[in-house]
Amino acid sequence: MTCPLHRNPITAVESPAVGVSIEHLSKNFGRLQALRDVSFAVEPGEIFVLMGPSGSGKSVLLKHIVGLEAPSNGRVLIEGRDATAEGTLENVRIAMVFQAGALFNSLSVYDNLALYPREHRLGTEAGIREKVMRALQILSLENTAHKFPSELSGGMKKRVAIARALVMEPQLMLYDEPTSELDPIMSATISEIIATLKDEYHVTSLVVSHDRELALGIADRVGILMDGDLVFLGRPAELHAPKDPRIANFFHPKIDLKNPRFKSLEA
């Protein structure tokens, strides 16, 4: 499941985007079943947006891909390698943009970005500096290089997290709620960045989000998880008039002041 080589504009390194295959994935936390027999594939180089209400299992699924959780049943394959197997992260470069950024608070923005190449000894300090500054430039963050994460706004933190991921020259980018807690303009900016990275870097992107605009605007395909079940898999255009009432309600919720939802939930 690989595609032709594409050149990374930051590093000029050629690497293929990789595909992900989720096969009959189930995950239990005690009695709670977070994922139920979920199967789908993400093609190399595509933007796949995984949507669903809060608590539907989206982030849990993302953690399985990056090997932070082990499946109760089924498996996750990244370019044919089991995600939980030792060596997968060494052979496939996967970068994850966490919901809150997960920037290292004790390091400056520059050092956050330089950590990966330094730890893996990917070039001289001058070469690393060039890569880091280029990544910051792409995301218009040059002026933040010597700031610490605590000095940044929410949108800036997300952009720094994306820049940090870019320095890794990833073959697969995972985004966990990249537009949550952002204003509409910053959300649109982040969506544009994700789409641009796909076009220019040709990385495979798997985005977990409940941002409708993002899904309809940049996704090649969309999956919808509800209560651990994959209830939809298809093109974004198919979501304009969904047949499933649960999906219709999720995409076009109506505010009903006469019969509020929370009261029916209480009952």
Partner: protein, 250 residues
């Protein structure tokens, strides 16, 4: 039963973390900067409190023993008593307790916070083992700094005893006589035993605190709970180990 299972689980986690850190021992030379930073945090920043506490512990020990020994006419042995107590027991134990409270709590708080705010997950996805970057330099630094802190603590404790012996009226022993008594009973083995104990305590404290910090789950409340748990576990380990190590070295 649950408590016992949780203790055994914690022990197992700490052993696995130690083995994992050991696997990356070869990376230590290129982690010089982190190692030096940890030496500074563990050693240099703990030194003032070690000095103050050891001085007053030495003073109190001299005062109490002077008060008791005066009745037997054995005041001339105060130097030996303070010297041996500090070298073999008080020096390493006081330094270990201070390291647990000051350094161990900070290590747990930092690592637990990194875990809760997904920084550890970010390291794992970057294929940077937390044991290599966060645990190994701390373990190496504590092994280097514990003997330094302990030797300084012992010397200051002896000095505290000497000051009390000279200036407290009912004791009135000159420093020359105090240190002569100290030297007459002291052997190199007494000091080396103390340093060995301090090494073991320091290593165990850092391992426990790293292990508890890295296994934290939840939010800010759990960070506080982990710090408390790590300090309590470290203090209990120091005292339990103290008995067994002392018995083994006698």
């Amino acid at each position: 039963m649950n408590q016992l299972t949780s203790i055994l689980e914690g022990f197992g986690r700490a052993v696995l973390l130690l083995l994992e850190s050991g696997r990356h021992l070869g990376t230590l030379p290129r982690q010089r900067a982190r190692f030096i930073e940890q030496c500074y945090l563990i050693g240099y920043t703990t030194l003032p409190i070690v000095a103050i506490l050891c001085f007053f512990m030495g003073s109190v020990l001299a005062l109490q023993s002077g008060y008791s020994m005066e009745n037997f006419g054995a005041k001339q042995f105060i130097g030996s008593l303070v010297g041996l107590s500090f070298a073999r027991e008080l020096g390493p134990v006081i330094v270990a307790i201070l390291v647990a409270g000051r350094v161990g709590s900070a290590i747990t708080a930092e690592l637990a916070s990194m875990k809760v705010y997904q920084e550890i997950d970010a390291l794992v996805t970057m294929n940077i083992p937390p044991a290599r970057m966060l645990v190994l330099p701390r373990l190496a630094a504590v092994l280097v700094m514990m003997p330094v802190l302990t030797i300084i603590g012992i010397l200051i404790g002896w000095f505290g005893g000497a000051v009390v012996c000279k200036y407290v009226d009912f004791i009135s022993i000159e420093p020359e006589a105090y240190f002569a008594a100290l030297r007459s009973f002291m052997q190199f083995k007494d000091v080396s035993t103390g340093i060995l104990k301090a090494e073991i305590f320091g290593f165990v404290i850092v391992l426990i605190c790293c292990s508890i910090g890295l296994s934290t789950r939840g939010g800010p409340r759990e960070i506080g709970a982990s710090v408390t748990k790590a300090v309590v576990a470290s203090l209990i380990s120091i005292l339990v180990l103290d008995y067994f190590v002392t018995k083994a070295l006698l």
